[in-house]
Symmetry: C2
Subunit: 231 residues, 2 copies
DNA sequence: TAATTTATGTTGCATATGCAACAGATATTT
DNA sequence: AAATATCTGTTGCATATGCAACATAAATTA
């Protein structure tokens, strides 16, 4: 497991855990790793869930697809981030989502459920892990609320605007890079791809934003914030 | 505090906490109660957050409003449920939402932050509380993901359908009662009220559902599930 | 380099939806 | 009961958006 330590150090779940304890802890958590090819399936909707995943490398897409082929990209996660933690902590048995490996990737699985439930005579780091997890899930909660905010907007333009403004706040630079191409951004914002392109072009014409590929520059934050006030 | 015990017993945060410990625990958590009138403000967007609220009686609306007056009803909570827990656990300083007391209500505030951070030489129930909180937040996480699912639908009709189907699963009866009137449901699903009424009427005409006021009967789950397949 | 695939932008069209205005029903207050 | 306020449904209209089809650009593969 030594080989992964430089990654595990960035994992928020292990914050304030002594590096020396890491190995025995991973053992206690039944840690196992698994590799995936590009575009392979990590977990199908309906599959049993019994562990939490940590992305050691690569990028995963958390997706919800309906029978009609509509695809909703819930989120995209990369190295050092977790998935499945809410299901395990809420004691959900079957996955409501499908997870794809968007790139070649490697994942470490840990048995966090055991840590919450059985393992009473707890190792010293158990409480630390649970507290870290609390913070991680609470933050994910806020991210979901943010996304509800985008999706709640009435127009595509406003969805784009609120997403970009949020990214601007997160990335703290004038030109932001988003992790999606147009298709993926459309799936993430749950709008039609061509309608998305249309709106982006309009917003460029109106000097609200500039972009090439997945790099966006916001020219007028004020206007972007008050899109529907001026009509 | 004795007077509230019958309510506090239903609060998931206190699951598996001995009733005898409850009083001293509430003291340790700095519990205080406060009453609110109908339609009063419990917390304004931007206010400092330093405690978690427990609804002892009444109903609260968690709302996000933008400058243009668009109102998004994130969720409505009632007796025995919590609010603010994600903000406290994620260490967010200022509330991103406004909370209204939709009815006369009474709220108990507890200092959960102290419990997570300082209070190291912890009382026996601390770990129990944190584990309970983990489960509560994880479940809220899933509820938010569910809502993302509604809002992600392209048409109003599908938003309504997925909301009703979800409620059907939760309530487990043929006629479900929803906690919203039309205006509120529109705010919750982020659609226009009159457009909502229009779609509901259409769905009734198509023999998909029946309703009077806030009671809905689903006549054809199958069709409701596959709304956009048949066109 | 050429060939092929993938990503992005554009446009026309049919439809859905926000909005405003109104009407009737229901609930609340006087 | 009467008066008032609130809730719900209906409709016309302008606009936004999904969708399909196509064009071009960019990236990938042969």
């Amino acid at each position: 497991m030594k080989e992964y330590f430089h990654i595990l150090k960035q994992v928020k779940l292990f914050d304030d855990i002594d590096s020396n304890d890491l190995n025995s802890m991973l053992h206690c958590l039944g840690a196992k790793t698994k590799k995936y090819n590009k575009n392979s399936i990590v977990c199908l909707a309906g599959d049993n869930i019994n562990s939490i995943g940590i992305v050691l490398s690569g990028t995963l897409d958390i997706v919800k697809e309906d029978i009609c082929g509509n695809r909703s990209l819930i989120s995209r996660i990369s190295t050092s981030h977790l998935f499945g933690e809410a299901f395990v902590c809420a004691e959900i048995k079957k996955s409501p989502v499908t997870i794809y490996s968007a790139t070649k990737s490697e994942i470490m699985y840990i048995n966090f459920k055991k840590l919450i439930t059985s393992c009473r005579n707890s190792c010293t780091f158990h409480n630390r892990l649970i507290q870290n997890m609390l913070k991680i899930i609470a933050k994910k909660n806020l991210m979901l609320t943010e996304k509800l905010d985008y999706l709640g907007k009435k127009s595509t333009k406003e969805k784009i605007a609120s997403y970009l403004i949020n990214q601007l706040a997160l990335q703290q630079k004038s030109t932001i890079t988003i992790p999606y191409n147009r298709n993926e951004l459309a799936d993430y914002l749950n709008v039609n791809r061509s309608a998305l392109s249309r709106e982006l072009s309009k917003m460029r014409d109106e000097k609200l934003i500039e972009f090439q590929k997945n790099k966006f520059t916001i020219l007028n934050v004020e206007k972007l914030n008050n899109l529907d006030i001026k009509k």
